[in-house]
């Protein structure tokens, strides 16, 4: 016989114990250290730092371990920690032009100041599974270019800018502080700073899909990969009591500047336009997708017609956050007995009315009824 259900608390406790044991897996297999994750699953760590909006390799590695490799869950763990951190100020904007470059390529110029540097990339590898990795084969030592001083590598877009072929970047306005959607609720229309922040935190999969859709004609933007660079940049901070910048440390970032052909509109002259992507760590897929979507979201500003999902600011920004998305999708697991009961009663009533109507008018054509909302 039914008695009012009790025992939710004990069930939750047991489920959490079961989760911890399942996470560990076969205890006959050595446990993964978070240092191993940090060093050997570095791109997973990068993604968690980027979408978690917190640059901390060790914390991201623990989160990945705790989340059993579920990166969105790991991102969520990092976000929930980040939100509790006090803000003591904003860093000086990083200078990606002064990056200690590990990889830098341009698809628009064959050669350029600073050169093309392939760096550690999957590009041009043959995607053949390497069985020797299962045995723990050690790679050959990393090649080094001896005696070569790195030469300055100015941004490609700045090379075009000198000739007026590309739109200038707006310079920073000291009176207009940069927005922060984690401190103020996002409202529409959102300025580009907030859009870029939302995209940098946004789900890689969503941005990839949206960027891809623009290439297939849903809001075409005619992009060229002007430049992609990855490496270390120094982060500086000006403490109020000192009044001059002090270095906080170096972070790895990937930056993508798309150069987009633009025939001009009533708002802007014909010139190359820009789309921008910047992410923590090494992720060209995310940086390039972000640059494509950034450019698409500038449609209104440039006087283009908004026709495609990637150009629709409310659509993109309201759905880009995977922590929000996964929470709301998965909340359907929570009990909905009460609402379901209400719908059940309504459906029974509608069915009874439908049956009666059929009895009263057997040949009535009125037979299609939508289920209630």
């Amino acid at each position: 016989m039914y008695v009012a259900v009790k025992g939710g608390e004990a069930a939750i406790e047991a489920a959490h114990q079961l989760l911890a044991a399942t996470r560990r897996g076969d205890v006959g297999v050595p446990e993964l250290s978070s240092a191993q994750i940090r060093e050997q699953l570095a791109l997973a760590v990068d993604r968690v730092m980027c979408e978690g909006s917190l640059y901390d390799r060790d914390l991201a590695a623990i989160a990945i371990k705790q989340a059993r490799g579920d990166l969105i869950e790991a991102i969520f763990l990092v976000r929930a920690f980040r939100t509790t951190l006090p803000r003591f100020g904003y860093a000086v904007p990083i200078e990606t032009g002064a990056m200690d470059i590990r990889r830098r390529i341009s698809a628009t110029f064959k050669d350029l100041p600073g050169g093309q540097i392939l760096g550690p990339t999957f590009d041009y590898t043959h995607r053949l599974i390497d069985p020797s990795l299962a045995e723990g084969a050690q790679p050959a030592p990393a090649p080094r270019l001896e005696g070569a001083e790195p030469e300055p590598a100015p941004h490609v877009a700045s090379l075009l800018g000198e000739a007026g072929l590309i739109e200038p970047n707006r310079s920073a306005d000291a009176d207009q502080p940069v927005g922060d959607l984690t401190r103020d609720p996002l409202s529409f229309p959102a300025d580009r700073d907030l859009r870029l922040q939302a995209l940098a935190r946004g789900d890689e999969g969503l941005l990839l899909t949206l960027g891809y859709s623009t290439q297939r004609g849903y809001g075409r933007t005619h992009p060229f990969a002007g430049e992609i660079r990855m490496g270390e940049v120094e982060v500086e901070f000006i403490p109020e009591e000192l009044g001059f910048p002090v270095p906080l440390g170096a972070i790895t970032v990937t930056e993508c500047e798309m150069v987009n052909q633009f025939k001009g509109s009533d708002r802007a002259p014909p010139q190359f336009t820009r789309g921008y992507g910047l992410v923590f760590g090494q992720s060209e897929r995310k940086a390039m997708s972000m640059a494509l979507v950034d450019r698409s979201l500038r449609a209104k500003e440039l006087g283009e017609e908004v026709t495609a999902p990637a150009q629709d600011e409310e659509f993109v920004l309201a759905h880009a956050d995977n922590v929000q998305a996964t929470g709301f999708v998965e909340h359907l697991k929570l009990p909905h007995y009460v609402d379901f009961q209400a719908e059940l009663a309504l459906l029974r009533q509608l069915q009874a009315e439908w049956q009666n109507a059929r009895k009263d008018a057997p040949r009535s054509l009125e037979s299609s009824r939508e289920a209630a909302e």
Binding site: M1, Y2, A4, V5, K6, G7, G8, E9, A11, I12, D58, L59, I62, F76, R79, A80, F81, R82, T83, T84, P86, T182, R183, D184, P185, L186, S187, F188, P189, E314, A318, V323, Q324, T326, G327, F328, V329, E330, H331, L334, P335, H336, Y337, V338, D339, Q341, A342, E343, L344, A345, L346, R348, L350, A352, E353, R369, E370, A372, E373
Partner: protein, 296 residues
Amino acid sequence: MSDAPAYNFAYLDEQTKRMIRRAILKAIAIPGYQVPFASREMPMPYGWGTGGVQVTASILGRDDVLKVIDQGADDTTNAVSIRKFFQKTAGVSTTTHTDEATVIQTRHRIPEAPLSDGQILVYQVPIPEPLRFLEPRETETRVMHALEDYGTMHVKLYEDIARHGHIATTYAYPVKVDGRYIMDPSPTPKFDNPKMDMCPALQLFGAGREKRIYALPPYTQVVSLDFEDHPFERTHFDRPCALCGAVDAYLDEVVTDDRGGRMFVCSDTDYCETRRAAGHSGSAGALDDAEGRPSP
């Protein structure tokens, strides 16, 4: 991480609480208006009560007595989880008794026992915008509220009547607050709507993912939308609770076997237990197939 993070009373830092309290005060000053606030990431997922949890965390004091319900029950898993969260982070005392609580956080129900002066009911809200499924754009719906442009909502209700003979909304049934704003009561069944009207308790609504807070001050007029010739109708149950015999309570349908057996019991577990403790009982002792058939 060598330093174990130390969290503030009720988890949120005081700056954040102040920001949320300001939003709550604004919401109370403009009943039914959705106030945007800088919702924080919480250690539970969006859609699982982060808005309600932030509101509760911001108003909770050390002397408060907290009750948390989900689907009317204190023992549903998410209610247990949220109650434990505040036991752990705020160390406040908790209760399952509606009349003992000073703050009640709820998902999908309003307690059956009448609320009183000084109590606060905090609702978890998934989609705060009552016009959202008529107009997906926030930029549009904000203008519609500003202009009191609620024609589409009335057309929607009218179309329900034209198609079904009655309004086919059973939960999250829209209300008009103090003659001004149309408000989503959160996905409570429309059975609970009349309890919101002129309620002595303060009612606060938190939507974390959507970053909105709204409120009903005590003794605010709350009217469920309807038409003169199609007045609002509360859901009726054609039987009493099988456990406590209550005839005035919202009932959950419980499947008792795979032969169509059903029983109907109070969704508000505290109400049901209190009644049984007072000597009321239902038909569950003599439960048989005839008793358990689904209603026609």
